[in-house]
């Protein structure tokens, strides 16, 4: 990544309790969440978080319930104030912002999508979608014109005059997304945005997000506790446990090389053939080899297995953007299909 990150989180700590800042040194000296609660009666929200969030990417933060995901994402628009640490957005430390600066930041740079949708129950779909612009003081006509466009974009044309309770969960969340897009902010924060939806609707919404993302290239911070969802969406994956980052990086690499048992528990049961891409397990080009075909780097291992007809010796050339970038043998793919802790050491 040559470009500077859109958001940098540096040494962020968040502790809930009566005297949180006095607890930071204790946590730094190794007091863990359970001990802090028992001995000091403070809740450890986040400890020593460092993340670079790049523009135009989807950064997914994953962890079990209570691991601090919501706390972390709410720091980015300061719905929660940090105990210590810095958060740089476009190079500016927002932890030092005044209330007025924050209002400006939230109006222009950040939008948010909520797990329970967070729609205004007393306003129509159109008014809800227009909210970010109305808050900024735009005229109702102008705000509603833009809101209408985004509602159409997320497939809600014709529902403008309805009220939220008249819509299904999936449609309500489309309103939530339209509202976030209407704000025209670069950064979109999504806290378990799809977790309340049925699996099928959920997949539709993921597709919608990916499709919008291809075109709009927002900086998305997406929270989930579901690895399948994380792997579908993530460019960068961050795994939280008890307020601590246990692993972060390229999602494929995390699946292939989980850092510890906690991460391994997450990745053990996924369908690796569907998740792992050829690009992640290919080898260097070797001019001496003859190939029995080309395969796209984006393709998953399932495709490779199908293409090779099950012959483990077949070699394929990996192509990305028209260029050959590596080679892959079905054998490599089969090895990658084994969960980490089942793989023999070599």
């Amino acid at each position: 990544m040559t470009e500077a990150p859109k958001i940098r989180i540096r040494n962020l700590y968040k502790i809930f309790g009566a005297t949180p800042s006095r607890m930071v040194p204790l946590v730094q000296d190794g007091l863990d969440k359970a001990a802090l609660l028992e001995r000091m009666n403070h809740v450890l929200g986040l400890q020593d978080i460092n993340i670079d969030i790049h523009a135009g990417q989807v950064t997914v933060i994953m962890g079990l319930s209570g691991s601090g995901k919501s706390t972390l994402i709410r720091h980015l628009n300061r719905l929660v104030d940090p105990t210590s640490g810095a958060i740089l957005v476009d190079g500016q430390d927002i932890t030092t912002y005044s209330h007025g600066d924050l209002v400006e930041l939230r109006r222009t740079k950040m939008s948010m999508v909520f797990q329970g949708f967070g729609l205004m129950p007393h306003q129509t779909i159109l008014q809800n979608a227009a909210l970010p612009l109305l808050v900024r003081g735009l005229s109702a006509a102008e705000a509603e014109k833009q809101a209408r466009q985004w509602l159409t974009r997320v497939g809600l044309e014709g529902f403008e005059t309805r009220y939220p309770y008249q819509l299904s969960g999936g449609m309500q969340q489309r309103v939530g997304i339209a509202r976030a897009l209407t704000s025209n902010a670069d950064i979109m924060l999504m806290d378990e945005a799809f977790s309340a939806l049925d699996p099928l609707i959920r997949k539709d919404m993921q597709d919608l997000l990916l499709e919008l993302q291809k075109e709009l290239k927002k900086t998305v911070v997406f929270i989930t506790h579901d690895l399948d969802e994380a792997l579908r969406l993530a460019d960068h994956l961050v795994i939280l446990k008890d307020g601590r980052i246990v692993q972060q990086g390229d999602p494929q690499q995390i699946v292939l090389n989980p850092a510890d048992d906690y991460v391994n528990d997450f990745v053990r049961d996924i369908n690796r053939a569907k998740v792992i891409r050829v690009r992640s397990v290919m080898s260097q080009m070797d001019p001496g080899i003859s190939y029995c075909g080309d395969i796209c780097g984006e393709a998953n291992l399932e495709r490779l297995i199908a293409a090779s007809g099950g012959n483990p010796a077949h070699q394929y050339r990996v192509i990305e953007q028209g260029e050959p970038v590596g080679r892959i043998q079905l054998l490599d793919a089969l090895k990658a299909l084994l969960p980490h802790d089942a793989a023999p050491r070599h």
């Binding site: 628009n77 719905l79 209002v103 400006e104 930041l105 939230r106 109006r107 222009t108 950040m110 939008s111 948010m112 909520f114 797990q115 329970g116 949708f117 967070g118 729609l119 205004m120 129950p121 007393h122 909210l131 970010p132 808050v135 900024r136 009220y163 939220p164 309770y165 008249q166 819509l167 299904s168 969960g169 309500q172 509202r179 704000s183 924060l189 309340a196």
Partner: protein, 348 residues
């Protein structure tokens, strides 16, 4: 009886107690002394060491009546100061009440009745309720209680309006601050549990009985409580995620209050207004003791002159008013929650 003499003797306060009191031994003291000699001091007849009893043993201690006189003196002492502040502040209430009562009785009945029926229809959009209002008013008019009923309605109207005007802002600040809530809640409990007559006593000290604000304040102090409570509750009950969304999109606290919190608290506030109306009605009857006009005066006449019929008819008139006020405000309340979003809740 001086059952506790020994205590003061023991504490070495005898000299101080008798000082100055020696000359003025009252008859009752003497009688008490004699009584003591006859009865002896049985533990069974030991009186509770109240102020009055202790005073018999040591005349330097105050009696309970001295204490209540003290309160009266304190009140009289503070009276002019309080009056100079409260008088101008509350004067508009007198004007409003007098004005409203004047208008309510000056408008001819053939204009007033249709206007009230139209208003109730406007608020409720229910023909049934409008018809109920019309019938009730016709009955009241038929037994010559229309003017009194109009006066009562005018007082309730002004007092409810003032309660909302004062109560909603108090409810808002209460919802915003847990500390204020902890401070105000016991005051509201006090206002609601004080016997309704007790309101009148300090007010009579402060204002003259001929001033309308006297009963106005008594009614408002009693009836404002539900508006405050339910505004506080209504704002606190707004879905926290909706509040979070309001903040996340950069609403200022003021925008959040006006665009989100108050609209979503409206059904609860309206429920408070309904209760306030009913409590005003209850209080306006009692307030006729201090010259509030209306149906209450007729009830009072029934009591004072033992005119049973007058009291009963006026009482039934009050019941009619209560029914139409309650039905109208409840139906209006349902209409404020009419988006369904309030009554049916969010779907997940």
């Amino acid at each position: 009886m001086s059952s506790y003499r020994a205590v003061f003797d023991f504490l070495g306060l005898r000299a101080w107690c008798d000082e100055g009191a020696a000359g003025a031994v009252s008859m009752s003291d003497l009688l008490a002394k004699m009584g003591k000699d006859q009865e002896g001091s049985s533990l069974f007849s030991l009186p509770f060491p109240s102020l009055d009893v202790l005073n018999q043993s040591c005349s330097h201690l105050p009696r309970t009546r001295d204490l209540t006189i003290g309160i009266e003196k304190l009140f009289l002492w503070a009276r002019s100061g309080l009056k100079s502040v409260l008088d101008p502040v509350t004067q508009p209430l007198s004007w409003l009440l007098d004005g409203a009562i004047h208008i309510a009785t000056a408008i001819p009945w053939w204009l007033m009745l249709p206007a009230i029926v139209a208003l109730s229809w406007q608020l409720t959009r229910s023909l049934k309720i409008a018809a109920l209002v019309l019938c009730s008013l016709l009955i009241l008019g038929f037994v010559d209680h229309l003017d009194a009923a109009m006066q009562t309605l005018a007082i309730i109207f002004v007092c409810t309006g003032t309660s909302v005007l004062i109560g909603v802002p108090i409810g808002i600040v209460m919802a915003k601050s847990d500390r204020l809530q902890r401070f105000i809640t016991p005051l509201l409990d006090l206002l609601q549990t004080l016997p309704t007559f007790v309101y009148l006593i300090p007010l009579i000290f402060l204002f003259s009985v001929t001033e309308s604000k006297l009963y106005g304040i008594a009614i408002i102090a009693y009836a404002i409580v539900p508006v405050i409570r339910l505004t506080d509750l209504g704002i606190r009950l707004v879905d926290p995620e909706v509040i979070e969304a309001a903040d996340a999109f950069g609403m200022t606290p003021r925008q959040r209050l006006l665009r989100v919190e108050l609209p979503l608290a409206t059904p609860n506030i309206m429920a408070g207004v309904n209760q306030t109306i009913m409590m005003s009605l209850a209080m306006v009857v009692i307030a006729s003791l201090v010259s509030a006009p209306g149906l209450g005066i007729l009830v009072l006449r029934g009591i004072n002159n033992l005119e049973l019929g007058v009291g009963v008819v006026a009482g039934l008139g009050i019941v009619l008013l209560a029914v139409i006020l309650d039905r109208t405000s409840k139906a209006a309340l349902l209409r404020t929650g009419g988006h369904g979003a309030f009554s049916r809740g969010r779907q997940q």
